[in-house]
């Protein structure tokens, strides 16, 4: 009898516990999905309205691929007008700036990382502090300080100044992604290569580069994304002779009132590309983790 009531009490207790756990789990899941809804509502809105051709968002005028067609042909067949050519120029300059500045930043940053790694503690700390300034500084301050520099030096602003500015805020990230690879590397193999008759350049290219490669790649990719995403620095360094990247184009477009509708399909395509890339990367990482 006594034993029996004891059993039901523990059973009740475990039942209650399980119910609590379930409720907690449902609540936390619901919370996550609610936050995701908050984060994705505007994005979904743009994607949905990329399939209708109304000038303003939120006004559904029937399903069509018209905007996608306009985006790729550069010509609105129905309204018989060209799509704003500045959209394509800005897209071209965004790519150009991103590729050139990311490449320069990767080369400069890799060399710098090797140098910094071999420095004495004191000078290493000093240069790493300077290296961290562009990462901490908000884009508006980086932009304005460079703006003042170019004015001070009498350099007219344009493509070159934008690229320099992008190298400024990309290189620190390259340095920081290459440094960990250096500490994993055997420090003697470079000297060994030199002893065996390699020139410093050969030793760098054939011995060190293969070891540093992953860090360089991640630094490069990070630089590309930072460069494409930048608005503040570009805004202050692009000058006024019509150079626009996608960010500054969107800003100018929005200030004029109303976005160019073709930005909707462009945005949707970019978003889906990134989504697919990330999913693939994640799956690959998960597979590799399983292997090890």
């Amino acid at each position: 009898m006594n034993n029996n009531t004891y059993m039901t009490a523990t059973q009740k207790e475990s039942q209650r516990r399980q119910r609590d756990l379930l409720v907690r789990r449902i609540c936390s899941q619901a919370y996550l999905w609610l936050l995701l809804l908050f984060l994705y509502a505007p994005i979904v809105l743009i994607i949905v309205f990329s399939f209708t051709k109304s000038k303003v968002l939120g006004n559904w005028t029937g399903f069509t691929f018209q905007l996608y067609e306009n985006l790729f042909t550069g010509y609105d067949r129905v309204a018989q007008v060209r799509v704003d050519p500045n959209l394509y120029y800005s897209l071209y300059y965004t790519m150009l700036v991103a590729l050139v500045s990311a490449t320069c930043a990767t080369l400069l940053g890799t060399l710098a990382a090797i140098g910094i790694y071999n420095m004495r503690q004191k000078s290493r700390r000093a240069i790493l502090f300077m290296n961290s300034i562009p990462m901490i500084n908000p884009d508006i301050l980086t932009g304005i300080s460079l703006f003042l520099l170019f004015v001070f030096l009498g350099i007219s602003r344009g493509l070159a100044t934008v690229i320099i500015a992008h190298i400024v805020f990309c290189t620190p990230y390259v340095v920081l992604s290459v440094m960990p690879r250096l500490s994993k590397m055997n420090p003697n193999i470079y000297e060994a290569a030199l002893d065996l008759g390699a020139t410093p350049f050969q030793a760098l290219r054939k011995v060190m580069m293969p070891e540093l490669w992953p860090g360089m790649i991640s630094g490069f990719i990070l630089s590309i994304t930072l460069s494409i995403d930048d608005f503040g620095v570009t805004y202050f360094t692009k000058g006024s002779n019509g150079l626009e990247t996608l960010s500054t184009f969107i800003y100018a477009d929005a200030r004029k009132g109303g976005l160019t509708p073709e930005l909707r399909p462009l945005f949707s395509l970019v978003f889906l590309t990134i989504l697919v890339l990330l999913v693939v990367m994640n799956i690959r990482a998960a597979r590799q983790a399983k292997k090890h």
Partner: protein, 264 residues
């Protein structure tokens, strides 16, 4: 032969970057200071700061911007911490995918994201203003809060939690005495990653309030954009004030982060 021996010491490989940093990072920041303490003729003066502190509107904008940035940071922390906590601890079927979904918006241009929220407000005919601004800021920067906290929580040694449970702590005690102190570094970097951009933003407020609300960043931008050459010194003074705020915040964050690391 001498230059080869210079090149052999790999320390010298950082020299190009050192030169680059001095020219494009240190010198520009010094120029801000120089411009802030001079007038358009180049004479030293404190007039730019006097002008700022005597313009009620500018001071109000400054305080308002600080307040907005602090509120945004608080809301992001309150919304983001539970999310990061759930993702790091709950048995989700696919925690990696969940984390990715929260990080994905960071890869989308923030202007486009902001404009998308503007359209969302327009669609439901909600007026743009202070509320929209807060919503948009939280929306833009929430991922930057979740990501570092999630990272720290994920690396947390779960045996410490089990040990606390075994030693008789209840759920609340485990959270306040073990989990929260351990997640401090993530919280600090999250706060910095949200506070720094919100206190310095200039485009978001324009787009989300149709220029009805001016933030400190927009004040600086206007001094350099529409103000013309006569306003640059004033703009530099405002930039210097912002630079001080950023320096103080990052110094504070650095100190807190390193002290919490030494505790661990």
């Amino acid at each position: 032969m001498k230059w080869i021996s210079v090149f052999n010491s790999r320390r010298t490989w950082a020299w190009p970057y050192l030169l680059f940093l001095v020219l494009f990072v240190v010198l520009p920041l010094l120029l801000i200071v120089v411009y802030a303490f001079t007038d358009p003729q180049g004479q030293p003066t404190l007039r730019n700061f006097v002008q700022f502190f005597h313009t009620q509107e500018a001071v109000n904008t400054f305080i308002y911007s600080l307040a907005i940035a602090l509120i945004t940071t608080m809301i992001c922390l309150l919304l983001g911490y539970p999310a990061a906590y759930i993702m790091a601890t709950a048995e989700l079927k696919t925690p990696a995918v969940m984390a990715m979904l929260f990080i994905l918006p960071m890869w989308i241009n923030f202007l486009l994201r902001t404009l998308a929220t503007v359209e969302l407000f327009n669609m439901f005919s909600i007026p743009l203003g202070g509320g929209a601004l807060l919503y948009g800021m939280c929306y833009d920067f929430l991922p930057f809060m979740i990501y570092p906290i999630y990272n720290t929580l994920q690396k947390m040694d779960t045996s410490l939690i089990e040990a606390a449970h075994d030693l008789g702590a209840n759920r609340r005690e485990v959270f306040t005495k073990v989990i929260l102190p351990l997640s401090k570094p993530g919280i600090y970097s999250g706060i910095i990653m949200v506070f720094m951009p919100t206190v310095s933003t200039f485009a978001i407020s324009e787009l989300l309030t149709h220029n009805k609300i001016t933030l400190f960043g927009s004040l600086i931008q206007r001094a350099f954009g529409e103000g013309g050459i006569m306003m640059w010194n004033y703009g530099a003074a405002l930039s210097l004030i912002m630079l001080v705020i950023i320096a103080v915040t990052s110094f504070f964050g650095d100190k807190e982060e390193s002290s919490s690391q030494t505790i661990i």
